[in-house]
């Protein structure tokens, strides 16, 4: 480092540039080397000469700043402290696209760490220039500028508002149509970071007419593009029922469900969460999700995926869909997901989060479920706290439906109910009593446990009539 530093002040410009490049590569490789670069007091020199030198030097110096700034917030703070932001912003106004790209990249890496650094970048006046950079014809420059805007906007609503005020949303929305996959990935990420903070920002993103163009991104070959498109739709749909309705009306639900079907692993997660958010808002939207054939897809996710957090998200989404009315609960129960949820809840391998979510989902669905064939397996292997709800549901449905009563007896449900031990006076006992009241005495006695023994006892103690 001590050898390189005087080379930065060399007369020959190529040596300066190469020295800067070497420093950049060193800092890029390792955290400690970047700290050494900062400690070696090189940054002020770089910043000073950034303002004056030609474009090769500017590129190399911006590369150094970027390499130092990417490792940790403290290093990025050091860069901000030596006044590099103003010179980087001046570089953003340069004619050469390579210089602009290097400067935008450095600013993006600095703003990535936390909100204060982003605020510092915004205060240096970078955002309007980044918006101009996005409109440039070079694809690489567009990519980097979009990624920098995304890093700035992700921390807080005020920063996102600044980005929107600079008029970035319209340009980003136009670039969704670009065929380059990496660019689309960055643009979608930027839009989703803007939309996630508040309803107004989400509405502004929607007003830029991204629907239904965004849906074509869901069919892209690149996994990240699909994931980011799902994330964007999720961030828009989660705020209010009206926005969710807008998404559903544009056919977003079907597109997302197809996208979930074609992805694997973590790329599915935003899509699953989006369906959950849409269904959570109102029962009409949940019904819309159901008729878009979302429930079979979600149950496939639930059973297939190896990761717990994705399973937990799928369980949560299913719970949101099924909790509104008996129709919804029936739609969920018909696909045979309830036993899967139960097994996830009972298994000791599932993480806590997964257990909690599946329990809530089961409870929510059970409280509205009147589809008895799906509830019957629960009588056999459910733990007591869930059994209570199941028996409760039976006690609500059986008094009114004679066919169901018949089915209940023939399938052995009544027998199982008799075998349940409950404390007298508890809610479970009340439910059991109300079920027993639906049937004549003889049948209840017939199915009560140990009835064959009592009968045999009676046979033993019977005195035959001797005539």
């Amino acid at each position: 480092m001590s050898l390189l530093r005087p080379l930065l002040l060399d007369v020959v410009p190529t040596i300066q540039q190469t020295a800067a490049l070497a420093l950049g590569r060193l800092a890029n490789y390792n955290d400690d080397l970047a700290e050494a670069v900062v400690k070696g007091d090189i940054l002020p020199q770089l910043v000073y000469s950034l303002a004056e030198q030609n474009r090769f030097y500017k590129k190399a110096a911006a590369f150094v700043l970027r390499a130092v700034g990417k490792h940790s917030p403290q290093l990025a703070q050091a860069i901000v402290d030596c006044g590099a932001l103003d010179t980087l912003v001046i570089c953003l106004e340069d004619f050469d696209p390579g210089v602009k790209e290097a400067a935008a990249w450095a600013l993006g890496y600095i703003a990535r760490h936390n909100a204060e650094l982003s605020q510092a970048v915004v205060d240096a006046g970078a955002v309007p220039l980044l918006v101009l950079c996005i409109q440039e014809p070079e694809i690489a420059l567009k990519r980097i500028a979009a990624s920098a805007l995304s890093d700035i906007a992700k921390h807080s609503p005020e920063l996102a508002q600044t980005v929107v005020d600079a008029g970035a949303v319209a340009h980003l929305a136009q670039m969704i149509l670009n065929p380059d996959a990496k660019l689309k990935h960055q643009v979608l990420s930027a839009l989703s970071q803007v939309a996630k903070h508040s309803v107004d920002l989400a509405e502004m993103v929607v007003e830029a007419e991204i629907f239904p163009v965004v849906l074509t991104c869901l069919k892209d070959k690149d996994e990240y593009v699909k994931k980011n498109a799902c994330t964007l739709i999720r961030e828009i749909a989660k705020h209010t029922p009206e926005l969710s309705q807008l998404v559903v009306n544009a056919g977003g639900a079907a597109a997302v469900i197809d996208c979930i079907g074609s992805c694997k692993g973590n790329t599915r997660l935003p899509g699953i969460m989006m369906l959950g958010y849409v269904a959570a808002h109102s029962e009409n939207l949940a019904m819309a999700v159901i008729i878009s054939k979302g429930v079979p897809q979600l149950s496939v996710c639930l059973s297939e995926e190896p990761e717990d957090h994705i399973k937990a998200a799928a369980a949560w989404a299913l719970g949101q869909i099924g909790r509104h009315t008996p129709e919804h609960a029936r739609a969920v129960a018909v696909t045979n997901t309830l036993p899967v949820l139960l097994s996830l809840y009972m298994s000791t391998e599932s993480s806590e989060d997964l257990q909690v979510k599946s329990k809530k989902a089961i409870k929510n669905i059970l409280q509205k479920c009147t589809y008895l064939p799906a509830l019957e397996p629960f009588l056999y292997d459910a733990p007591p706290n869930i059994l209570k709800h199941v028996v409760g549901q039976f006690s609500k449905v059986l008094p009114h439906d004679s066919k169901a009563r018949r089915l209940f007896v023939t399938s052995g449900g009544l027998k199982k109910v008799q075998e349940i031990k409950a404390e007298p006076g508890s809610l479970l006992q009340d439910y059991i009593n109300s079920i027993n009241n639906c049937y004549p005495e003889e049948i209840v006695r017939y199915y009560s446990p140990g009835y064959s023994d009592t009968l045999l006892q009676r046979v033993d103690s019977y005195q035959p009539l001797i005539n």
Binding site: D96, E101, N284
Partner: protein, 361 residues
Amino acid sequence: MATLARLQARSLTVGNEYYFRNSVVDPFRNKENDAAVKIQSWFRGCQVRAYIRHLHRIVTIIQKWWRGFLGRKQYQLTVQVAYYTMMMNLYNAMAVRIQRRWRGYRVRKYLFNYYYLKEYLRVVSETNDAIRKALEEFAEMKEREEKKANLEREEKKRDYQARKMHYLLSTKQIPGIYNSPFRKEPDPWELQLQKAKPLTHQRPKVKQKYSTSLTDWLACTSARSFPRSEILPPINRKKCQGPFRDITEVLEQRYKPLEPTLRVAEPIDELKLAREDLRRKEWLRNVNDNMFLPFSSYHKNEKYIPSMHLSSKYSPISHKEQFRSEDPKKWICDKDFQTVLPSFELFSKYGKLYSKAGQIV
């Protein structure tokens, strides 16, 4: 007398009888007394009982009437209460009917329209199907484009290979490696080689020194961004053949001021404009617009005798008539022919051209 005798006969026994009767009667007297007492008591009892019965009857009547009165009062109250209850029940039932209708109407109209929901869900599912179809088509189109691009790339690669291997083409004397005489038909590469244009040898270029560092790490490598070396590479075109002109002549030609021809300098219908200009000026000047007529009225009646030139039918040819038919319906364009034609310059550029073509060297 008989009676007396009878009496005297009986008088003896009278005493006995009297004594007998008195003594005998004593228990009977007690008995009879008791009987009489009994009878009297019985009778008195009957009397009293009758009286009491009478009293009872009277009292019953009174009590009956009193109780009836009380009962009727109670009955009135009960009837009032029952009536009231019945009316309230009726009102309740009617109110329930009204409320039922109103609540149903309100829910159906303002809160939740079942048919609207059904319609909405149907529309949503239709949109979903349309979007799914559109996205499938889009994906298919993308795939097709990709395949096409791949095929084209393959073609180009093969073409390039064929161009490089062009020397392996078979000639009349020597069959090439792909055209072996032992094969039934030539290898497809043979046809490819025949189709390809031979790759020309590149002339040895001057090695350009790159500063390799600056391009490796930037994605933006368009040629505009920076040159590959400090000095520009030499232009290795062939040198121009002489002789060259005098530099002063060249500079004269390059910086010559504009000399527009007469045609360009003056407008084409300048004569017409000048005439109109003159007419306007005269109109300004004139006090009276009417044409001056001669005073003598002799000329009014005189018929004009045209000259011989004008009176023959063999009039001078008017070019207009010669070239254009007289029937205006046959004219293609309704505009008139141009009478003023553009000039052509024959000698305007004489001695002023830059090239030496046609000049006597």
